[in-house]
Amino acid sequence: MTEQTSRPHYERYHIETDKAPDIVRWPNRFNVKVGKVGLATHLVKEVIHQKGDLELILARPCIYGVFSRPVGGFAPDQKKCVGCLRCMNEYPEFVEVSRNPARERLGDSYFVSTYVDAVAYEAESGRVPVKGAGYRGKFGGADWDGIWTDMSEIVRPTRDGIHGREFISTVVDIGTKPGFLSFDGEGRPVGPLPNTFTIPLPMIFDAPAEQVATDTLYRTLARAAGAIESLAILPLGVILRLGLSGEHLAPLVGPGEVDRLDALGFAPRLVEVDGWDAELFDVVRARFPQAQVALRLPFGGEAELLQCADCGVSVFHLTTDYHGRGAGGAFIFDLIRDAHTAFVEAGRRDEVTLLGSGGVIAAEHVPKAIAAGLDAVALDTPLLVALQARFSGDFTSRHTNGVSLPNRLTAEWGAARLSNLMAAWRDQLLEVLGAMGLREVRRLRGEMGRVLLQKDLEYEAFAEIEGYLSEGV
């Protein structure tokens, strides 16, 4: 072996991105209406006032090309409008720019159009959305909106990490680590040892909603997961039927599928069992001794989690509905905290991995969910929106109807969109970690000291102000 080949090979993790334009034209962001009579009258006046100077007469207010067609304002190119309103300010008498209600109806009551816009941009470009002006939304609010992440003002270890000169790790471990190691008299470890595998980013793909799941969608998820070296949870039957294989696939096994396990032609890193069935769980563990076996359960019931851990479960995939709601309407952020805290208080947090799904629809939700206690997030609806899915009504669970994907969806295009989305989300995770001064995402897990909760800050700032205790809390 030469010296060159014996050197350990190091490759910095990077997600390749490439522009993946929309395959379905979504509604314009703005409607531009120009009164034709008003415009014609204006042009006549201009001809007289400007004495036929064509440069002046034809000088149009838009620099984005909305009026760049030969007939100018008589047929505005609405898709180019960015909503600057300069045309409306110059010609208030006959130009009107309004937000397009059809655009604002994209998504559903939880995945509102602003999130759809962000995901669409990220999936198309692979880039972090960067805009001018300040924040434009509500002050705070419920759920994710009432949470800010912290930053470090002066002293921090990451020093320019987000700009590439220092490495911030997004690697996470899936599996179990004992709280401590034991050694015999000769220094050999005895007892349980760490048993994990790693993925390079704390985001995996959850099994898609059954109603929308086509073979093309399954192939898309599998292909994208392979490209970004993550995981796609897919039903065992689908993996077998489509002949998919690879360590980026995590078979989801349900009751009654024991007989099909042997047909799997590869050694998965993760197998997920849908619901607690001790017998099924043991069979899967025995069939795939090299794999981590995850248990998929709804959030809630911390005592049950601890009992399952006693039975040997070391990876939990906890779920809410697609709007982040668990039993009794509790929000996923609070549910994650409960689950994480239960294991911390039992002194067993490192022995288990917590994956979570539901309600994570924007890049900023990922670090917040991890700070609440997750190791990694299993994504659902944002993947569909990245593929230009349309919702009709509220889309709340894997078993809900009311979502459709473009007919022209191909696995190649879809995988490119999902890779772009993950690249953009990972870059934003790096921004948040860099601002905090954290070198690796694993250190963020359960770090509630790194988040600022509106209810706490508001109480501290306003409690002595008259009316706050009666109106604000």
Binding site: A59, R86, N89, V97, G132, E431
Partner: protein
């Protein structure tokens, strides 16, 4: 490239005339309100009323809500407990809005006539014409504007007694002479809109003139790193301040920070490093370009940071030795007064000055040629849409309206100075709509 395009002054004149008339028309509500204008923080009414104030120097009386937005939190939930009319400060008693910026007991004495000054906006993020507009207004109103981190255009030198030189992490355009110009030096550690992320100027806006001013390469995106490479600790920060004071011993020093959890301790550290002013920039502040994730999600809004820092400085017994300025979402005179009641001495304005010049908050500042109104751009043609004299008048009129409203608020609270309002949370009330 756009810089080589011949410019027809008559085309500029045509557009500016139409725009000025349009600002007036919309603010009059004759045509209703533009349906796509505004958002929860800067509502259509707030934008239109700012245009009205910039045009007339007075608050609108046509029904525009010029006091609060609809963000459903922070300033928009706070109102003042107006006293009975008999206890109002009489019109015959003058109201003092002036603010001393050095409370250290030594060094240069600087006092501004109104409790606000202009925040840093760099050459590149805005045009030279806008910088000049701000500087001319600052001189007229005996207050300040700030260079931001993009250099010190020579056209600004005549106004240097009213220009703060910003020293930020990329040190773009920072030279000894620009440090010597300044009555106040501002160390920018972080910016509220992108805390912990440094500065961004996307390549499209790094024109040859911008690059020359910043001593960089044209059309290449510029990132100011975060944080200062020379500052790893509060001790380093002290040395940093000492370095600037060595170059300009007469200057006051302001330290601009964003609003992390431990902002109170950062403020105290800045005080012991010798700062005269601690400038808190809350997370909802403006920017020429920032990742969207940062604007909402990193660090706390200014409404929460002010009382935290104010109380901590009080508990340390140093509150009266340092000036606390607040920015990051200050839109109106009412916001200024609420910030002061929460514990600030004064406020730093940015977006509201741009809105006075016609900004619609469309959030396209970062792209291509930049702002279609000639504000956040260095495009040679677009930037001519703002004549500095017109711009200075608009900002000055806005200041006049601000002054009048602040005086009115203080009178109705029975106070005679803005300084008497500082930390008076007992004069605030938490409401559903922030109007009182």
């Amino acid at each position: 490239m756009a810089e080589n395009k011949p410019i027809n002054p008559r085309v500029i004149e045509k557009h500016t005339s139409a725009l000025h008339a349009g600002f007036r028309t919309w603010a009059s509500l004759e045509q209703g309100t533009p349906p796509a204008l505004g958002d929860a923080r800067w509502t259509d009414h707030l934008i239109l009323s700012t245009w009205h104030m910039a045009d007339t120097g007075e608050a609108p009386t046509n029904g525009l809500e010029y006091r609060t937005g609809r963000s459903e939190g922070g300033f928009d939930r706070l109102a003042f407990k107006v006293r009975p009319e008999a206890k109002w400060t009489p019109d015959s008693t003058p109201i003092r809005l002036s603010l001393p910026l050095n409370r250290r007991g030594s060094g240069r004495e600087i006092e501004i006539d109104i409790p606000v000054y202009g925040g840093g906006m760099s050459y590149g993020s805005i045009s030279e014409q806008v910088m000049l507009s701000r500087a001319m207004a600052a001189r007229e109103w005996n207050t300040f504007t700030c260079t931001g981190e993009g250099g010190y255009p020579p056209a600004l030198v005549p106004y240097r007694d009213h220009v703060i030189t910003q020293i930020a992490t990329g040190l773009f355009g920072v030279r000894e002479e620009t440090i010597r110009y300044a009555p106040i030096l501002e160390f920018k550690y972080a910016q509220g809109a992108k805390p912990g992320l440094g500065g961004h100027l996307l390549g499209d806006k790094a024109t040859t003139s911008v690059a020359e001013m910043r001593e960089s390469v044209p059309w290449v995106s510029l990132f100011s790193p975060f944080p200062f490479h020379s500052v790893y600790s509060v001790e380093d920060h002290r040395k940093h301040v000492d370095w600037a004071r060595t170059v300009n011993p007469e200057a006051l020093v302001s330290v601009k920070v964003s609003t992390p959890h431990d902002v109170d301790m950062v403020a105290v550290g800045s005080y012991y490093a010798g700062a005269n002013i601690i400038h808190l920039d809350g997370s909802y502040g403006g920017t020429g370009a920032a990742p969207e994730i940062a604007k909402k999600n990193i660090a706390m809004p200014i409404e929460f940071a002010i009382p935290r820092v104010h109380r901590y400085l009080e508990s340390e017994g140093i509150r009266d030795e340092i000036v606390l300025m607040a920015s990051g979402g200050i839109r109106t005179a009412y916001d200024v007064a609420k910030a002061v009641a929460l514990g600030a001495d004064g406020c730093v304005l940015g977006t509201s000055e741009l809105v006075a010049l016609g900004c619609t908050r469309c959030a396209n500042c970062e792209r291509g040629r930049g702002c279609t109104y000639g504000l956040t751009t260095t495009d040679p043609e677009l930037s001519l849409l703002v004549d500095p004299a017109w711009g200075a008048q608009r900002i000055g009129n806005f200041y006049q309206a601000l002054k009048t409203q602040l005086e009115g608020i203080l009178r109705r609270l029975g106070l005679t100075s803005i300084q008497a309002l500082r930390g008076r949370t007992d004069l605030l009330v938490y409401t559903r709509n922030g109007i009182g």
